[in-house]
Symmetry: C2
Subunit: 434 residues, 2 copies
């Protein structure tokens, strides 16, 4: 792992620079995706079938996955996996239910009503990648908050399996999470279908879920016409550890991040040079135990970072610059330091709270802001599947009382039509007195 | 105004088609903006000064607007405008304070702590257009929710006035709203400065506020690296009115929208053909009273729509397809029908609740989702200036109890490193027993 040295400011600057580079993207993907979106918009299902043939090598006769296929997945799934999904589901529900919001109504003065309704989105699409990146846990993480929000219809988009046999756990997770309909279409073409609607696939209000570069680019391009969750980048973990931390645990947790893909990032900040050395050795030892060693090693070599901090404060200052997706705090009394964390998607406190607990079980969401976006964005939650609507009611008297202020601003902004709309109400009142 | 006829479905389809067209954008703007962003990223302040010279015709010696300039604006502002801004400020605060959110902590079982913190963004930029589109009311609408959220630093970006004299109301509104620093830079270059940071302008976490096509495109391009509020399109109003509505009021309110710009959209849906005719006549009559007649007329001719609905239900069904930014319900007992509205940014209930009340006074936000995006997005609010952070703490015992479920899913997803991170904790426990 690369060691960063220098002043806090220098290291912070270097970390930011690295962060920024993670957004660079080949420009030709943009153009390819644009063409795919346009074709699906024009030709609908026909384009979906053609692209699925071209990109996935599968000839579809129907886009929707049959109910029987989903039912049959329950016969195929391993019992331990089913139980784990059911346990995770309960925890996800019991955590996210706290995020369910109510609107408000406000009666500030006679004749004035103001309020805000919180309404579920009507229809949402969840994208689930195919192949080895198909994660049943992510199906739960994406769909259950939508369900709690009250979304009427949840559809799932996923590429068709090349051999015709779906990953049973994915279909089971979809069913457990209340997904209404599964479509076997993936890639940028599926995003286009959900954004514009086709004969078979209904237009949705929001598209969520991780995907490859084509999917991410397509989501970015349709953003505005439909909602999207976020532009997810490579995954990352930050670990803050002092001399009391167990280097075996720290190394294992860094590697559980690194094994995701070679762009994944694992950063350790510690006040202990002994720990830094021990973790580095452990990383090397444990790398050799990993089936995904090649990926994890590439990630550690390219993006692994160890930083020696001069103080506890410096550890937190540096990590706040990174704004990591996942943050582990492996120091004694970890909860006491939570207040020092300014930016992070999900924080794991104490040596036993290994990040995979959050990935699979605790019920907190594992769809998190990556690449420093935790500075301004949030884990996926119920709030992503609702929208707010304001409402106002003014009586005649309240309108007349407010008129001078409204007209002063309208005339100031040279929007005389706005002032006139109020004046028409004043004129009616004046006329009614005669 | 154009009349749309046909079945509800046909009209709905036509309205959707028109909605979609509103997103089309010239492609060359994308490229120009890309170049501007890149240059500011490379050259910082120097590029800002060069672009301001080129685009605004102003040679800047400093980017920051001096405190004295802001103080002096209080001497210049008309007393009625100052009072109106102060009244609006109080109403905006008393409405938006209901949106301030608390986090939660949850203790679902022994050894398990889960929670969510709600934290303000650290630094936010508010864009304020120059010239005739400089609206002091919008400064309040953008900055005050950020202030209530607890944002530490709010900066404002606005093009320099050609004659060197700032719009006093803009600077006063900024001061009233608690803006910390005003920079006299506008356009795509200012968005780049806020997204990347320059020597003079600090990098922010989120950029909000309306702007021209260049500003909107720049916001879209930096989205992901910083947060943005939304891609604001042209403004629109929908009016639902029955035979009891006053055609003078309806026409005035449609025109108060149409005067914004020629792309603005005003749509009336009514069950009364008498009202439809009367409104059309009134629109023509009132157009001639408007200083901005040319703009309003162009808007009404291109985008004005009158639709005759067969029933109350149909009025709401059609308007839900439009998902208008502003919706006026001018029927008797309007509040009784609020539940029928599924998609709208801000709803104005009853004949006296003219939309300008919301634009300038009521305290509800006037930064609203346009062009049908009310299907999935919300008015600007306090929630746009916070982010959530999850946290979890698991004791040793809780971790060991959860281990089988976590491992089942990790192995299923072929993320063995995730399973191993848990197994290291199990091994430690086993070893401690010996």
């Amino acid at each position: 792992m690369k060691r960063l040295t220098g002043s806090v400011q220098q290291i912070a600057q270097e970390l930011r620079r690295e962060q920024l580079l993670r957004f660079e993207q080949a420009n030709d993907v943009e153009k390819q995706v644009q063409a795919i979106l346009e074709k699906v918009r024009q030709e609908g299902d026909e384009a979906l079938i053609a692209y699925t043939n071209e990109f996935d090598g599968v000839t579809l006769t129907q886009l929707q996955v049959a109910e029987e296929t989903i039912a049959e997945a329950f016969d195929r799934i391993e019992p331990a996996v089913l139980q784990a999904l059911e346990a995770a589901k309960q925890n996800i529900l019991s955590y996210h239910v706290h995020q369910v919001e109510e609107g408000f109504a406000d009666f500030p003065s006679e004749g004035v009503i103001r309020g805000q309704r919180v309404l579920p989105l009507e229809r949402v699409a969840i994208y689930v990648p195919g192949g080895t990146a198909a994660y049943p846990s992510s199906v739960l993480m994406n769909a259950l908050p939508a369900k709690l929000a009250g979304v009427e219809e949840i559809i799932m988009l996923t590429p068709p399996p090349k051999n015709g046999v779906f990953n049973a756990a994915i279909l089971v997770a979809a069913k457990l999470a209340g997904v209404d309909c599964v479509y076997q279409v993936g890639g940028a073409q599926s995003i286009a279908a959900a954004a514009y609607g086709t004969k078979s696939i209904p237009r949705v209000d929001k598209i969520v879920g991780p995907g490859n570069q084509y999917v991410a680019t397509a989501k970015k391009q349709v953003f505005g016409q439909v909602g999207i969750d976020m532009i997810a980048g490579p995954s990352e973990v930050g670990v803050i550890a002092d001399a009391t931390a167990n280097p075996v645990f720290v190394a294992a947790d860094l590697l559980s991040q690194a094994e995701h893909d070679r762009h994944a990032r694992a950063i350790l900040v510690t006040t202990s040079s002994e720990l830094a050395d021990a973790v580095e050795e452990e990383v090397e030892r444990q790398l050799r135990e990993l089936p995904r060693e090649a990926i994890a090693r590439a990630s550690i070599e390219a993006n692994g970072r160890i930083i020696l901090a001069a103080s506890f404060d410096e550890m937190f200052d540096l990590m706040n610059e990174v704004a990591p997706e996942h943050l582990e705090i492996e120091v004694a009394d970890a909860l006491h330091y939570l207040g020092k964390v300014k930016h992070a998607g999900s924080v794991f406190l104490g040596r036993y709270t290994s990040e995979p607990i959050g990935d699979y079980f605790a019920g907190t969401n594992h769809v998190l802001p990556t690449s420093g976006t935790a500075r301004f964005s949030s884990p996926l939650g119920v709030y992503d599947f609702v929208k707010r609507m304001q409402y106002t009611s003014y009586s005649q008297a309240a309108t007349l009382a407010a008129a001078p202020h409204i007209k002063a601003l309208a005339y100031k902004e040279a929007l005389q039509g706005h002032a006139k709309a109020i004046e028409k109400r004043e004129e009616e009142y004046e006329n009614s007195k005669n």
